[in-house]
């Protein structure tokens, strides 16, 4: 009756099945970021080989600069997504902040007040979303789709075909956008700082873990005494502030703004988050992944141009690569899950 399986029965004290299972789990989670890094490396290597310019200082700098703003937004977005919510309004917020900040700066405000003002507006938008979602408990998607339209409308209303040019802006701001320390431009540095701060907080602080708890099971979180509303509100606040900051950086970077900066970026940001391995269903993923996702998407974009791909093919290829990324990620995860199952028995 008894076969080999019974002979490897694990004594309850320690379970080798569990051990190897865990190391495998870790591997999947690391693999999410890992696979991104590898994909990125390959892409850069190939492109660089074809066209060395791609790896020139200028080339690298451009990619970093292009990524900075998207990554910042992706970081904010992923905090929201981790709580099993969504913020579709980020694109509009960037647009609004970029223009309004430009407006006040052009009208003679100092740099610091202007920047603070911009971030404050972003925060206000985030607060609005957060209050509606967490306290009125209305579906995040509907609310933020609504605020997307409202904020965009307000932005266009204020801008109404006006354009604010670099000449009208304080040089300090522009040098923030294009200047650098030790050859590393400011923008990516700023993004990096926020990414590390938020990432570390989410991983290493009890309140940070609660964001994951909420996304993993809101009901259970409530019963566990997690202040769900406050955390969700915070998530939107963070996303809003970062969107605001992104708006300011946008202005610093591009110097010229009209009403429709970052128009329609919401989907790009979400793509970055998803490619970065943050589960759209909440509870899984990291801001590092999201930022990497942003980097990957931008790099693909630039690489295709550098590889002289027919512009009409670029979008298609980007889409295909996005699908490839998430599919590979998924297949990998399924493989490991299967392994896990077997180990959990014949550890």
């Amino acid at each position: 009756m008894t076969g080999p399986a019974t002979t490897v029965a694990a004594p309850p004290e320690e379970s080798p099945g569990g051990r190897s299972a865990r190391s495998l789990v870790d591997l999947v989670f690391r693999a999410r970021e890992l696979s991104l890094v590898i994909a990125l490396a390959l892409l850069i290597a190939v492109t660089g080989a074809v066209n060395p310019n791609f790896l020139s200082g200028q080339g690298i700098e451009d990619i970093l600069l292009n990524t900075a703003i998207l990554a910042l937004l992706a970081v904010g977005q992923s905090v929201v997504v981790i709580t099993r919510n969504l913020d579709l309004s980020v694109g509009s917020v960037v647009g609004l902040v970029a223009f309004v900040t430009a407006d006040v700066l052009a009208s003679g405000w100092g740099l610091v007040p202007g920047v603070v003002f911009g971030v404050a507006i972003g925060a206000a938008c985030g607060l609005l979303n957060g209050l509606l979602v967490s306290f009125c408990r209305v579906p995040a998607l509907v609310v933020t789709l609504g605020t997307l339209y409202v904020i965009q409308g307000v932005d266009h209303y204020i801008a109404h075909g006006r354009q604010i040019n670099a000449v009208d802006l304080p040089p300090a701001l522009l040098s923030l956008g294009n200047g650098s320390v030790l050859g590393v431009p400011y923008l990516p540095l700023i993004t990096l700082v926020f990414m590390l701060l938020i990432g570390y907080y989410l991983r290493s602080y009890p309140s940070g873990r609660e964001f994951y708890a909420i996304g993993s099971s809101p009901e259970a979180a409530r019963l566990a005494g997690v202040p769900v509303r406050r955390r969700v509100l915070t998530a939107y606040l963070v996303s809003g502030c970062l969107a605001g900051l992104a708006g300011v950086l946008w202005l610093a970077r591009f110097g010229t703004v009209i009403g429709d900066s970052a128009n329609g970026w919401e989907l790009i940001v979400i793509s970055a988050v998803v490619v970065g391995g943050v589960a759209i269903t909440g509870g899984v993923g990291s801001v590092y992944g999201a930022a990497l996702g942003a980097l990957l998407l931008t790099t693909i974009g630039s690489a295709l141009v550098v590889l002289r791909v027919n512009p009409f093919w670029q979008q298609a290829i980007t889409g295909a690569l996005l699908l490839l990324a998430i599919s590979v990620d998924r297949v990998l995860a399924m493989r490991v899950a299967r392994l896990l199952r077997n180990r959990s028995r014949h550890g």
């Binding site: 408990r137 609310v143 965009q152 509303r229």
Partner: protein, 325 residues
């Protein structure tokens, strides 16, 4: 929250939207000259045609807790294909079925990625949104093809004789009835709601979850492609960027109609009311020389209010206070 209040909410929700619709119509016809004219209404309707059609398929998807963001791109791709083939001298009678077939394939791809790989449809269709739009550009590039056969253009533009109803809308009404029955009265519909609310339970109950989802995506792709044909004929211009970004308009209409994005809740009546409300309100605001900016603000507020009101109502309705929030 208990099922009671949830179902109650959904009910009050689409009733609310429907009554808003009536209000807008009455207000419009009394205050704004030229609004209630058949000419204007029939245009306002045909202007909604594609969105309304796609919303039908989208409703079923969202009820089953999935979503298809690639519809606008499929529409664009089909438009581009129509253009390319037409320019290539093919007969429109062969082009249309071909294009619709391609749409079905696009849907199939979405469906396979979602059901076979178990990827979240939001992620997948964001990807295909880029892919299909890209293919549209690959097909037609920067060209804009025109001069489609007047007979067919008329089918996309003209009203059904003796009515203010354009042919596309007539088609929509027909399909709406069918979808309505399927969703609310058939076993298939029942399984959709079950899948949306608790997929695993549906699976345990012998519902062919994957097959059904696959079917839904194929339908969505097909409808989107057909909408693309209508779009192309209606504007008499085939371009790769046709219908850019209308996926959000469709989603907005569906959500406004009270369909819960988490699946398992919502009625088709609500969605139809939602589509009409957005369309008529926009038309009304335009006639009243309200600028685009204000229009989009209104649309947004509408969305928020439509979900907020029932919530606030249910929060203050003592009968419904269950577990404290």
């Amino acid at each position: 929250m208990g099922g009671l209040s949830l179902m109650g909410r959904a009910l009050r929700w689409d009733v609310l939207v429907a009554s808003l619709l009536v209000a807008v119509f009455v207000a419009g016809s009394s205050t704004t000259p030229g609004f209630a004219t058949t000419g204007n209404l029939s245009f306002a309707l045909s202007d909604l045609g594609e969105i309304a059609l796609i919303a039908l398929a989208m409703t079923m998807l969202v009820v089953a807790a999935e979503v298809d963001l690639s519809v606008a791109s499929v529409l664009g791709l089909s438009s581009a294909l129509v253009g390319a083939m037409w320019e290539g001298g093919m007969a429109i009678e062969t082009i249309i079925p071909l294009v619709v077939l391609v749409g079905a394939v696009c849907g199939l791809v979405n469906g396979l990625l979602v059901t076979r790989l178990g990827l979240p449809s939001l992620a997948v269709t964001i990807g295909t949104l880029a892919l299909y739009r890209g293919l549209a550009y690959v097909v037609l590039g920067d060209k804009a093809i025109a001069q489609f056969p007047p007979g067919y253009v008329a089918l996309a533009v003209d009203d059904v004789p003796g009515t203010p109803i354009p042919y596309p809308i007539a088609l929509f009404i027909l399909l709406a009835v069918i979808v309505g029955v399927v969703l609310h009265a058939t076993g298939f519909g029942r399984s959709l709601y079950a899948i949306g609310a608790q997929e695993q339970v549906a699976f345990f109950a012998g519902v062919r979850v994957k097959r059904i989802k696959l079917l839904l995506f194929v339908v969505s792709g097909t409808v989107a492609a057909f909408a693309g044909v209508i779009f192309t004929l209606r504007y008499g211009s085939a371009r790769a960027d046709n219908g850019l970004g209308i996926e959000l308009a469709v989603i907005a209409a569906v959500l406004l109609g009270g369909v819960d994005f988490d699946g398992g809740k919502g009625t088709l009546g609500g969605v139809i009311a939602g589509v009409l409300l957005i369309g008529l309100l926009r038309n009304l605001l335009m006639l009243g020389d309200v600028s685009t900016e204000i229009q989009s603000i209104v649309t947004g507020l509408l969305l928020i209010v439509s979900v907020l009101t029932p919530r606030l109502v249910s929060l203050i309705r003592p009968a419904l206070k269950g577990t404290p929030p």
